[in-house]
């Protein structure tokens, strides 16, 4: 990496709530769903921050609020694409946002519904350039081709329509479209979740290569924990709209400090029959965000619950360097993480022809 890492994104007290009409045809008045509840974190340039959590925990809402694809209710997003060039993203007008948007892009989950079926691949990839009036004429084609080749698409592909492609190829089109603006920051929202195992590996490798080459910073949102561990430098765990733990990837998976993270990690089924899963089975399910539990949101399902958990919201505090947890008892508890794989799990494939 040529430049010193700096804080590319600094998110402070981000909040997003959605009004919800209740009763028949909305006659019952309104309630509020707090999807993101006072979340603060940062992302350093060149790193990948993983964002995990179960459905309804607010992962996608955070990703979209940062890009202002949806308007956050309150809080600030400080974005520094390069040192010396900084924006207060949350305070900008729509016109001012236009200057910032090229630096931040998004890759979506479903490559089948996120590409316009009536546009050729060339037009799909070129569209951001045209809309933002970044390039003109033959320069556009040059840039499109350059990016497409980098994403392992060829000239022939550019003339075709999205329906002619497989899931993995479509996801590469989506990546090329994000990359064509030469962004600094990409939100990958479940970018590999809909893909088959072998294709997923290819896309994860591609994302890794592109990060190195273009010095990209990723916010990687996914519910597949093994993929997140593989690609992320640091990981944040969400529960009901709040961050419960942030730590370097390995530390978070194998020595978690929050009981929810510990339960989540213990539930990952290891692809090895000799590492039987010993999941910490949580009671019940994630509560509704309309009426979240008091104090620590996790207390009704926590096996270590104490009286103060029911009334006091735990702060996100740094317990070890770079390792933050939001639990009143993180300094006194020893929690199990993901089951460590035995040596036997490294597959013996080297002597493939030996038995021949």
């Amino acid at each position: 990496m040529s430049e010193q890492p700096h804080r590319l994104m600094e998110i402070k007290n981000l909040k997003k709530s959605f009004p919800l009409q209740t009763g028949f045809l909305g006659t019952g008045g309104t309630e509020t769903v707090i999807a993101v509840d006072d979340v603060s974190f940062y992302i350093e340039s060149g790193e990948t921050l993983g964002l995990v959590g179960e459905s309804g925990s607010g992962k996608t809402t955070i990703g979209r609020s940062i890009l202002r694809a949806i308007e956050p209710t309150s809080g600030s997003v400080h974005f520094e694409p390069r040192e010396g060039e900084a924006y207060e993203v949350t305070g900008l007008s729509n016109r001012e946002m236009k200057a910032v948007r090229p630096h931040m892009q998004m890759i979506f989950q479903d490559p089948y519904s996120s590409l316009n079926p009536r546009m050729t691949v060339r037009d799909i990839i070129a569209e951001p350039l045209v809309v933002n009036k970044l390039l003109k004429g033959t320069d556009i084609d040059k840039r499109v081709l350059e990016v497409a080749l980098r994403c392992k698409l060829n000239v022939e592909h550019l003339r075709r329509f999205p329906h002619a492609f497989s899931g993995g190829q479509r996801q590469r089109i989506g990546i090329a479209r994000a990359l064509v603006m030469h962004p600094r920051f990409i939100v990958c929202d479940e970018a590999v979740s809909a893909l088959d195992v072998s294709v997923q590996a290819e896309i994860l490798n591609l994302l890794g290569d592109l990060q190195e080459e273009f010095e990209l910073t990723y916010l990687f949102i996914a519910h597949d924990l093994s993929a997140v561990e593989y690609i992320s430098d640091r990981v944040a765990v969400l529960y009901l709209g709040r961050i419960v733990e942030i730590a370097p990837s390995k530390e978070l998976f194998f020595s978690p400090l929050h009981p929810y993270t510990s339960a989540l990690m213990s539930a990952i089924p290891a692809p090895d029959p000799d590492s039987p899963m010993q999941p910490i089975i949580l009671k019940g399910e994630i509560p509704s965000p309309i009426n979240p539990p008091s104090g620590c949101h996790f207390h009704p399902r926590c096996q270590f619950v104490q009286t103060e958990c029911k009334t006091m919201r735990p702060e996100l505090k740094e317990y070890k360097p770079g390792h933050y947890s939001a639990c009143h008892f993180s300094d006194v508890m020893e929690l199990p993480g993901a089951s460590e794989l035995g040596e036997s799990s490294s597959i013996r494939t080297s002597k493939i022809r030996s038995s021949n």
């Binding site: 497989s166 590996a201 539930a267 692809p271 460590e340 493939i352 038995s355």
Partner: protein
Amino acid sequence: METAENYLVKGDPLLEIKDLKVSFKTDEGIIPAVDGVNISLKRGHTLGLVGESGSGKSVSTWAVLQLLPKSAIIHKGSSIKFHCKDGESVELTDFKSKSREIRNIRGGEISLIFQEPMSSFSPVYTVGNQIMEAVRAHRDVSKEEAEGIAIDMLSRVGIPNPKRRFKQYPFELSGGMRQRAMISVALSSNPSLLIADEPTTALDVTIQAQVLNLMKELQEELGMAIIFITHNLGVIAQIADEIAVMYLGGIVEQGTRHDIFHNPKHPYTMNLLRAIPRLGKTDGGRLVAIEGQIPSPMERPSGCCFHTRCSEYMPDRCNVNIPQITQISPEHTVRCFLYES
């Protein structure tokens, strides 16, 4: 019925699929979906079917229940033999999809659960109503008795407050709850085989762990066999006794879970295992993706289907002939020329 079940022993043969071939008629011609699948499953055992999309996992199991769409053809010479609870064995391919015989098998002997429980429940009946329907279709009981059985089933799958849930509609239940309710429908008639088609794919990991645990517990309690279809290799390593790996409509390798995970033989199986990220093991390293794309079923490669993507491809052999099944050990078989003498 109780006496009949006395001679149902764990380990006895339950289902034997021989040379199953299924094709679909489409406007573009006849497309083979399953091409010569052999499976034998014993009572009380769990068979895992793994493979990527389009490998024929689901189609093979739908054929067992005669649930294939009208455009499907089961080829002559395919045989699906099933041993019923009363000791008789039946040939399932002989039954028409709407015949009384197959309807007794469905639910009564073999149950099916799907990936998306929301679309398998009717939205206009209560959960209880739908469980009672399944109970009364296979057992001669009164409405009151059926209600008792249904509530008992709901509490058995770990649904809190089953009396209240009994009266609720599917949309009032969360995803994990619905999958539990679905399992209780499937198990209400005490089947000897449960086919679970990606039952945990749509669930979060903590809920997935709950459901997997539940299935293992119920299997021990009721002694049923399970065919578990998934593309998640982690899940399959945890739940299956035996595993069959499918590629483009055929089984390329079959063995115990230890064979498949620790001593894989087929290049496709090895590739698949190397392609998945493993916790704490892939530090900085690259994943090994499988070269190329899964071929379209319209353009099936000649010879061994996998030869177009195989790292061990031998010209003039793999692309010409179809490899035969080779025994590695009594339980471990593979279809690959590397092991044929």
